[in-house]
């Protein structure tokens, strides 16, 4: 069974009706350029994938963290901690937008300190601050200002909305995304420059053809179109090759990440960095890069050819 893509069919019909291409295939620095465009497409796809990965993870972290508040109650002489914890839980539960509030037990609090103090330390003799974890049903509707005010009745209580941490996280993710986009635009610019040089070389080696086309009355638009057709094909081939390469790269990384760190470690890695899976949107993103690179190749070569022809005319 032969699958016919509408665009491919258009090119096939177009080409058949137009006979042998006026710009011979072997006169264009084809293979080298296909390879170069393939590498550039691959780098673009990988950069784009990394940017999407970071942005997705940062968004997920930010949302998770934003759904939780922490009330910290410092031990103060003369105050009964258990009573203060109950008051804080009650105040939190009475706040709009709060789904649940729960005081962490002594054991849970000690477990939180283990990474810093080590296991097996008896904290019974030390008064340590206690925490109430507040889960929000809707972060947008939660009245955290009211809760902060209400908590004034509990001595030693303070509310942590994690705002500063989220802000820092967003700033870091934003920097990575911006850097990724900058790298992406540099790759696109480098690709365009490479195509400009390749087109100039092709024009120089096809000067005789351009001369013949001129004296038989071909317009600059026609000549530019003939060269653009050649470069569009090269762009598609290179783009497709790079796109498939990037797809395989992400697939292999996904498989490798799962097999190298199976189980809990892999899960933690997933929580931290997101899954190394492309997902539907990732595949669509890579597919979108291919025609963009092909179009970039065709448009850049067309502009270069037209400039070349204008320079000849003047």
């Amino acid at each position: 069974m032969q699958i016919e893509l509408p665009l491919l069919r258009y090119f096939q019909l177009n080409r058949r009706d137009r006979g042998t291409p006026i710009v011979p295939a072997r006169s264009v620095t084809g293979r080298t350029l296909v390879l170069l465009i393939a590498i550039m497409t691959f780098l673009s796809c990988v950069t784009l994938g990394a940017v999407v990965l970071v942005q997705k993870s940062a968004l997920a972290w930010s949302q998770d963290v934003g759904r939780e508040l922490t009330i910290q109650i410092r031990p103060i002489e003369g105050e009964v901690m258990e009573s203060n914890l109950r008051t804080a839980v009650a105040l939190a539960e009475a706040t709009p937008g709060v789904a649940a509030a729960r005081a962490l037990s002594i054991e849970e609090t000690q477990k939180l300190l283990e990474p810093w103090l080590g296991a097996g330390v008896d904290l019974g003799a030390i008064d340590i601050p206690r925490l109430v974890v507040v889960e929000l049903s809707d972060p947008a509707e939660a009245d955290t200002d009211k809760l902060a005010k209400d908590l004034a009745v509990v001595k030693g209580a303070s509310l942590d909305t994690h705002a500063a941490w989220r802000q820092q996280l967003n700033a870091m993710a934003g920097t990575i995304v911006a850097s990724g986009l900058l790298v992406l635009s540099l790759i696109v610019a480098a690709t365009a420059l490479a195509i400009v040089f390749a087109t100039r070389g092709t024009m120089a080696s096809n000067r005789e053809i351009v001369g013949v086309l001129h004296f038989i009355g071909a317009s600059n638009t026609f000549i530019a179109g003939e060269f653009q057709d050649r470069f569009l094909t090269i762009g598609f081939r290179g783009g497709l090759l790079g796109g498939v390469g990037a797809f395989l790269f992400f697939s292999l990384i996904g498989v490798a990440a799962g097999s190298v760190m199976p189980g809990a470690a892999g899960q933690q890695l997933g929580v931290l960095f997101g899954r190394f899976a492309l997902g539907v949107d990732g595949i669509i993103g890579i597919l979108a890069v291919v025609p963009v690179i092909a179009a970039l190749t065709a448009i850049t070569s067309r502009i270069t050819v037209r400039r070349f022809l204008q320079r000849i005319a003047s």
């Binding site: 006979g19 042998t20 071909a218």
Partner: protein, 219 residues
């Protein structure tokens, strides 16, 4: 049809190659353009083909001054002029048929609309059996006949030929000029540059003689 008025041409800051050319060529005429090597024959043909602009004076073609033509007008005017070169200038990767059909192809015409005409013309110039041959396998005479066919397929009003017999033997030269004479009989204005005396003496066409940058007419 062709009118030159005080036309001068120089390349860059060099001396004038052509000086004060003033003449008129009537439609349907046949002229030999002759003169020693370096006398400016090719430069004059380039002026006529509009691939060079005169440094002074005015060239008028088809009743219109060429000095202020825009790109589209220049292109349109050039489509009424055919040219044949000494070195043929056929595209080696295209077949004889495709080379001859090229002027119609660049106009965007589909092959089905001109196929019969191109084949008829190729048969007329004696290349009916070489439709699918590529230029590298054609003889010098066949290449030149293909180049002539390419120059006339668009039915130009003016046909320019720059030493078209320079790469063929004397016998074939005569046959090629007879071909040009046939085209002239059908109404095409022809200017054929050559410095081969036997050719000039074999045909009764008037001569434009270029010498020292100036033109002189002789019957």
């Amino acid at each position: 049809m062709i009118e030159f008025s005080n036309v001068g041409l120089r390349y860059g800051q060099g001396p004038e190659i052509l000086r004060d050319l003033t003449f008129r060529i009537e439609p349907g005429s046949f002229h030999f353009l002759t003169g020693p090597s370096g006398s400016g024959k090719t430069s004059l043909l380039k002026l006529l083909l509009l691939s060079l602009k005169p440094t002074r004076g005015e060239v008028t073609l088809f009743g219109k001054s060429t000095s202020a033509l825009n790109q589209d007008e220049l292109l349109e005017m050039r489509r009424h002029i055919g040219i044949v070169f000494q070195e043929f200038r056929l595209l080696d990767h295209l077949t004889t048929f495709e080379n001859v059909a090229l002027p119609l192809r660049v106009l965007g015409q589909p092959e089905s609309s001109y196929r019969a005409n191109v084949i008829e013309l190729l048969e007329w110039v004696g290349l009916g059996h070489r439709l699918n041959a590529h230029p590298p396998v054609l003889s010098g005479g066949e290449k030149q006949r293909a180049a002539i066919a390419r120059a006339v397929i668009g039915r130009p009003d003016i046909l320019l030929a720059d030493e078209p017999t320079g790469n063929v033997d004397p016998e074939l030269s005569l046959r090629l000029v007879r071909l040009f004479a046939e085209l002239n009989k059908m109404g095409t204005t022809i200017i054929l540059a050559t410095h081969e005396l036997p050719l000039l003496e074999s045909f009764p066409f008037p001569r434009m003689m270029l010498d020292n940058g100036e033109v002189r007419f002789a019957d």
